[in-house]
């Protein structure tokens, strides 16, 4: 056994003994245990050391081992087998020093403080036992070398918890907090990682409140790190490998409505158009085209829509006109139609006017429009003439 390994165990045992003297002042503890490590180490290495009750001379055991003794190697460095439990050792030490037994109830400390002391004492005892074990000799240095990894992980945990708490406060519920989404979040992550690492390196141990905060942060990280990692893995899964998995997320989308066919007046869709000639007389069968020759249609719905017409209670359905080639034309105005109740469905599911009904022009807005002065092709006005011929209408559009 090397001296360094031995000293590690001795130091652990000595600190466990000190933990049982915590009710004394630091000066008393120092006075009582100064040089304890040297004495323990020498006692362990003394092959001729007399064995008192429950004690084993380490040198003797070690010699037996080398001769092939079946003894558990861990026993060799289980200091509690050599010196007894740290608590009893401390009690003997303080009794011999005339300091009396531990004042458990003299000044009753608060529940939290007692609990904290209890935890610390237990931890030190466990640490001493752990560091005395053979497994620790094998795996201990490796585990210790992983500490920086834990510091970084702990920084990330602090970041996620902080962002998560922030989300709860401001009321985001769907947003993920595992990965920074903006420069501020990256800065926060960097800060918590630096804090965690510096804390781990022991550079931030200041006053008691700081130490308490650090310990609380560490405990929190230990508790939540596993759930957070699981959550993070499912988050990565949802984004990556299993991207095809369906998830429903409510996202507000601002999109422009499709440009619709039809004619609009004052923001309202037009159902039908009524043309009047220059004298104000209503025209039938007027074909309308725009300046590119495209048909102007108020609707081309295949008679599927029901239209609400002004002054008529029942909705109307319009029918298309047919041109001479048999093609359906929706740009011939006014559209004719019939109340929706007069429409049926044929065998192919198309909507057709029932046999008893016939398409008719819906009521015009007015029977006659005011006459206008329309410029003639030759400069004359048409006001004095009678009804224009269709040629004349065509001419006036040119």
């Amino acid at each position: 056994m090397t001296t360094a390994v031995l000293l590690d165990h001795v130091a652990a045992y000595a600190s466990a003994v000190r933990s049982h003297l915590r009710d004394l002042s630091p000066e008393q503890v120092e006075d009582l245990t100064d040089g304890l490590e040297a004495d323990l180490a020498e006692a362990l290495e003394d092959p001729a050391g007399a064995v008192t009750t429950g004690e084993l001379a380490l040198g003797a055991v070690g010699a037996g081992m080398r001769l092939g003794g079946p003894d558990d190697p861990a026993a060799m460095i289980d200091l509690t087998r050599r010196f007894g439990p740290a608590g009893e050792y401390a009690a003997e030490l303080r009794a011999a020093a005339g300091l009396g037994p531990a004042r458990a109830a003299a000044t009753e400390p608060g529940l939290m403080r007692r609990l904290a002391r209890r935890i610390t004492a237990e931890r030190l005892t466990w640490e001493a036992a752990l560091q005395s074990s053979a497994a620790w000799r094998t795996a201990g240095p490796f585990v210790v070398s992983l500490r920086p990894l834990w510091w970084v992980l702990r920084g990330w945990v602090w970041f996620v918890v902080t962002v998560g708490a922030f989300h709860v406060v401001v009321g985001f519920h769907s947003a993920q907090a595992f990965v920074p989404a903006n420069p501020g979040a990256w800065l926060l992550l960097a800060t918590s990682v630096v804090l965690s690492v510096q804390w781990g390196r022991g550079l931030l141990r200041g006053r008691a409140p700081v130490r308490a905060l650090g310990r609380a942060g560490n405990a929190l990280a230990v508790i939540v790190v596993l759930p957070l990692l699981l959550g993070f893995m499912s988050f990565v899964d949802a984004r990556g490998v299993n991207a095809e998995a369906v998830s429903y997320v409510e996202v507000p989308v601002y999109e422009e409505p499709d440009r619709q066919d039809g004619v609009w007046v004052d923001g309202m869709q037009v159902s039908n158009l009524f043309a009047y000639d220059a004298q104000g007389n209503p025209l039938d069968g007027v074909q309308l085209y725009d300046d590119r020759g495209r048909q102007v249609q108020t609707t081309s719905d295949g008679s599927w829509s029901d239209w609400s017409l002004p002054g008529i209670e029942e909705p109307w359905t319009f029918a298309a006109a047919q041109d001479v080639d048999g093609r359906t034309r929706w740009n011939v105005f006014p559209l004719s139609g019939a109340p929706s109740s007069e429409w049926d469905y044929d065998d192919e599911g198309e909507r057709v006017l029932s046999s008893v009904a016939s398409p008719r022009t819906p009521p015009r807005p007015f029977a006659k429009a005011p006459a206008v002065h329309a410029p003639e092709a030759d400069g004359r006005t048409s006001g004095t003439q009678g009804e224009p011929t269709s040629d004349e209408v065509l001419a006036s559009q040119d």
Partner: protein, 110 residues
Amino acid sequence: MDTTQLLKGVLDVAVLAVVSDEDGYGYDVVRRLRGAGLEEVGEASVYGTLRRLYASGALSSYVVPSDEGPHRKYYGINAQGRAMLDAQRKDWHEFSTALTALLDAEGDPR
């Protein structure tokens, strides 16, 4: 007979006697006590006794650093300690003489 109980009463004078021979540190004192025949002396008891004697002014102490390990705390006897040792040695002789006489007297008639 439970010699550990007997030891408790005389540990002070035993430790003083060992240290008066030569300065010593904790385990060194233990070893010398055991070498002298007090096999069952408890290590922690010796260390505690050394501290108590030091605190009461009977011993002086100094620290010797070590190159390859923890430092050692040595104890040496001072004038007050020697006076205490002399007084207790006298007490012990009286006590042991009385007890020996008592035990031998009871054993003689056989």
